[in-house]
């Protein structure tokens, strides 16, 4: 089973990211869950979302406390959220930052292998707004290969309709442009 935890701020679409990856995984024939950290959603406040993907039925409904991959949607959330908390032994972190993996690892004492991507920049160029959820999914798919790229793009089309194109472009660019640390 692959367990994912998303860190972001209210309004950045962390919950949507978790949902899209779960929907694509289900479409691929797997079992999956996605759920928010269950709070009143306030724009700008730190939020978490969770997803689980497995080949068999998933029954555990607790919050994800030992994630295999952590997705950090907001470069500054690391000041207030401990994204390394409970990260599994071979866990990875996918961080939205314009800086190098070494720099962010040092500043925030991050654990695990890092995948970095300047998602703010990509989202601004492709979508016209700094909403990084769909962009970050590109880096997540690149790093984990957990679902087929095309299935995720199908979900983006369904979810975003006429504004899907920008999101798909941002997703594809992050897939290509993210920096994956050697394992």
């Amino acid at each position: 089973m692959l367990e994912l935890r998303f860190h972001g701020r209210g309004g950045q679409g962390a919950v949507t990211s978790a949902e899209l990856i779960a929907l694509a995984a289900i479409a691929q024939g797997n079992f999956a869950q996605a759920f928010p950290s269950f709070g009143p959603e306030r724009r700008g406040a730190p939020v978490m979302a969770f997803a689980r993907i497995d080949q068999k039925q998933i029954r555990n409904r607790t919050a994800v406390s030992n994630p295999d991959a952590v997705i950090v949607l907001d470069p500054h959330i690391l000041h207030v959220a401990n994204s390394s908390d409970g990260l599994s032994k071979d866990g990875i972190q996918i961080v939205n930052t314009m800086r190098s993996a070494d720099e962010v690892r040092k500043e925030y004492n991050l654990k695990g292998r890092l995948i970095t991507v300047d998602a703010n920049h990509i989202a601004e160029q492709e979508i016209g707004r700094v909403i990084t959820n769909t962009t970050m999914l590109g880096a997540l798919i690149r790093a984990t290969g957990v679902v087929e790229k095309e299935l995720l793009i199908d979900e983006l089309k369904v979810r975003f309709g006429r504004i899907a194109e920008g999101n798909i472009n941002a997703f594809n660019r992050a897939y290509e442009e993210c920096c994956v640390e050697e394992g």
């Binding site: 289900i26 479409a27 996605a34 759920f35």
Partner: protein, 397 residues
Amino acid sequence: MAERKGMEVSIAIAEAASACDVDCIAAYPITPQTHVVEHLSEIVADGDLDAEFIPVESEHAAMSCCCGCAAAGARTFTATASQGLALMHEILFIAANLRLPMVMVVANRSLSGPISIWNDHSDVMTERDVGWIQVFAENGQEAVDLVIMGHRMSEDKRILLPLMVNFDGFILSHMVEPIEMPTREEVKRFLPDYEPQQRLDIDNPITMGPVGMPVVYTEAKMAAEWAVRDAYKPMVEIMGEFEKEFGRKYKPVETYRTDDSEILFVVMGGISETAMTWVDKVRDAGVKVGLVRFRMWRPLPVEDFKKAIAGVKVLGVLDRHFSPGGPGGPMAQEIKYMLYGQDHAPKIVETVVGLGGRDVNFIDFDQIFDRCKAVLGGAPVPPFELIQVRGGHYGKA
């Protein structure tokens, strides 16, 4: 068989109500139920469901409206949670005692105060006496299935009672997971058009809900007792029909890996599946433990429960609500009622967990299991205890 599709459970419930071709929906939005009625209002507005959607000013009005709709002979659906269910309280008795079929889903949530929007069972457990049929779902698929079965049960001429489908707020309501959504045609084969026994009709006037003088009130209450108790048999029959049509099996009391267990946990609702994963884990380590879960809560399936726990030495009961200064949690109370005075009745370790959205995880199950093992080994049965309290328990701080 329908395709397995990822969807949020609340959306799936709205789709299920739509597949049941409901005629009237009167509802007021409240977290964590909101997505259910929001999506139903969209379905109606899009013209995909020919129904009256009545956006009322409160839950009191919602339930009153539902009574009116059901009395007029409409297939009626609503949804609520927490304070909303509490606000419906007085009308819930009326719906039941007028024998008005309807289905209400409750996204179980704690009651204030302190204000909490999160999940536990305090809303439904304080409505045990209203005379409704009450069933619990443990995952999204079950919530969908129970809505469909619920209409058939509620409208069955042998039952004719309102029915409450409980599904945990957030833990289930906001979960995206795979669901097999039956089509409207499939549902129609299982759920025939509603033919009311009696209905308000200006050409053939009748009175519903007149005053019950002392000379008839007791008899009316006796009739209510029979109505709910006698619902058991047709409900089981309908679960069987559902299995034939859709292939998924439901029982009044569900069990999980109970064979050879001296200790069983009794759970209900959304934490059941997490408890199953815990059982799998400890059973793999050679420890014999299993689960008993109430699917049907009203009518209380006494004989099924007794059968499920036969021969067991200790029951660990995990309640999600309790009565302050009273006899502890509702499940434990009712289990004691079922077992009192029986030879070889198991000892009962009562715990209250998962209040107001507190995550219930393997550490909690381990802790409760340790208490059960101590009692199995001869330790005195402890009084009911709130697990997960920071800074110690009552009397032990």
